[in-house]
Symmetry: C2
Subunit: 339 residues, 2 copies
């Protein structure tokens, strides 16, 4: 199995990204193709002490251009045909790698993936899934930002695609919830009410509406929403987690005894932070294109990149793309029968 | 000043609510009218050791009926004319009290307030505001659940009403943000894009789009959104705060040293919990009706009820209703000039 990494995107520069790839190589028996400026990539690799067994699983593919973080995605991928992110997805398209990961300009990553891989059959709109930590197994939420104004059919397709993705957590018959503001039928906005009826009529394992407070309880495996609501959920969660840690530390620093207590409890804090750290869960897959595409935070650490590569490898092993295809075909049949 | 409390609503029974009223009486020089079953209320009061100065500021008004938590709000207020929540808002309407607070069936509280007090002039739809703790001053978000499908004019009115309400935190020229999924103009769904243009053209202190992660930073005083998105933000925040504390405690309980550390740091944890506890911020005001109405969580503790009563008192002192009226009139003029 071979995963391509866009070695040029991201806020911390190529070194951090390449270090992430090396961490992944050491943890799993996979091959990584680093895509970017050959000289820059090779120079960093030359500074590492790599074992022959590691070198044998590393490959560098040159790309002469880079999409910058601030660039317009559509313009960038039109003008920069040889951008690292474009070359990476071209490798996926050609079957030379099994998946591609990028921490560069998210819009450009999405646009490049759609352009190079194309939409899957039966998919009206590809979307971005993300993983939230919960008190039990992780939960997959989709869409978290690709589609801000959705129709019911889009949400139903998100349900199918996110369910297939949740197989990477060994969830066999994922419970699907529709994000709303009350559990009862009939609660929610117009989009949710119409989507509810469609999901209830489908052969999917739909458990009904779930509320914002259910996201972290782990009683549901897949949560479906439009990209506007999903993105706000994601950002509110990130913002609250970070603000709460700052507030708690502020309180602890006020008292020497509390500081001592914090030192004693620090391993527990670290374990907790690891558990709620989004980076631990890798990147966010773009689902609905003909191939595996993982979008990472620009600020991803080497650890986060490692996890995104391992996540991509899991998606390959669990045959997520063909599961999505089968799910969409079955769902499309459902809809025809219904009409 | 006199505040009415619906003494029958809430999950913990009349005793908890009445205890909250007594806490408020002791903290502020205000009068409280307890509305509910005279016998039940009086029996609980008789068991307390009340000072004559406290008794002098307490009044009981009998109501023969109660709206239960599971009842349909519309049916309930139609059938139960003498329900405690209806009688409480009747007191506001008659000018016999300055505000009413209820922890009963939220839908019925809202319906009773609209029925008894009526919508304010220029208000298309009353909405519910809530207060989030931040790293700096609290932030007011509106709407958090009354209106799930909104038009731009509704969001602009929420901006005006929530700004007037934010005066209770001594914020003179509140910064208004529009909740979206990117800070740049043009980011967001159709509703947000249209609302952006209206707010930018108004005389309000509109600072542009804010993202989910900005909610807890305190760089904005008022956040405007539709009731579907706002309710999900609120519930996701509550859910995450509670799940995170459970996860952290779970990690701490794994190690005796961490447990000792936690004991030493406990006062800091308590101070933190107090800071992020929604109950600390009282209830959620229903804005846009001709009078002060505060909706509390069914599970409100006596402490939460006390804070809701003190919040109502602040709204009276800061003349929030007349500020809302003035703001709406000015905004309506803006719109006429624009047309």
């Amino acid at each position: 199995m071979r995963i391509a990494l866009d070695a040029m995107g991201g806020d911390h520069g190529p070194e951090e990204l390449i270090d992430g790839a090396l961490l992944a190589l050491r943890q799993d028996n996979l091959h990584v193709t680093l895509v970017g400026n050959q000289q820059v990539v090779q120079a960093h690799l030359d500074r590492q002490q790599l074992l022959p067994t590691e070198l044998a699983r590393l490959q560098v593919v040159h790309a002469s251009e880079v999409v910058e973080m601030g660039e317009s995605p559509v313009d960038a991928i039109r003008r920069k045909k040889d951008a690292s992110v474009m070359v990476a997805f071209d490798l996926v398209r050609q079957g030379r790698v099994d998946a591609a990961v990028s921490a560069g300009n998210s819009g450009a990553t999405m646009a490049a993936a759609v352009r190079k891989l194309g939409r899957m059959e039966h998919v009206a709109r590809p979307g971005i899934a993300t993983v939230f930590p919960t008190l039990q197994k992780p939960v997959v939420m989709m869409d978290v930002g690709a589609n801000v104004d959705c129709r019911p059919q889009h949400l139903c397709q998100f349900a199918v695609m996110a369910s297939a993705f949740s197989h990477i957590f060994n969830i066999d018959h994922p419970r699907i919830g529709l994000l709303s503001i009350g559990e009862e039928v009939g609660k929610g906005n117009l989009l949710v009410k119409e989507t509810y009826d469609r999901l209830a009529a489908s052969s999917l394992n739909f458990i009904g509406n779930v509320e914002g407070r259910d996201v972290f309880q782990g009683e549901v495996d897949v949560i479906v929403c439009d990209g506007f609501v999903g993105n706000i959920c994601l950002k509110v969660s990130e913002g609250l987690a970070s603000a709460a840690m700052q507030m708690l530390k502020g309180e602890i620093m006020k008292s020497p005894l509390a500081k001592l207590g914090y030192l004693l409890a620090r391993p527990a804090f670290r374990a907790f932070a690891k558990r709620v750290d989004y980076a631990e869960y890798g990147g966010a897959p773009l689902l609905g294109v003909n191939g595996i595409a993982i979008i990472c935070h620009g600020k991803s650490s080497a650890e986060a990149i490692k996890n995104a590569i391992l996540e991509a490898a899991q998606m390959v092993k669990k045959q997520v793309i063909s599961k999505i295809g089968a799910g969409l075909a079955a769902n499309a049949q459902d809809e025809e029968v219904e009409d």
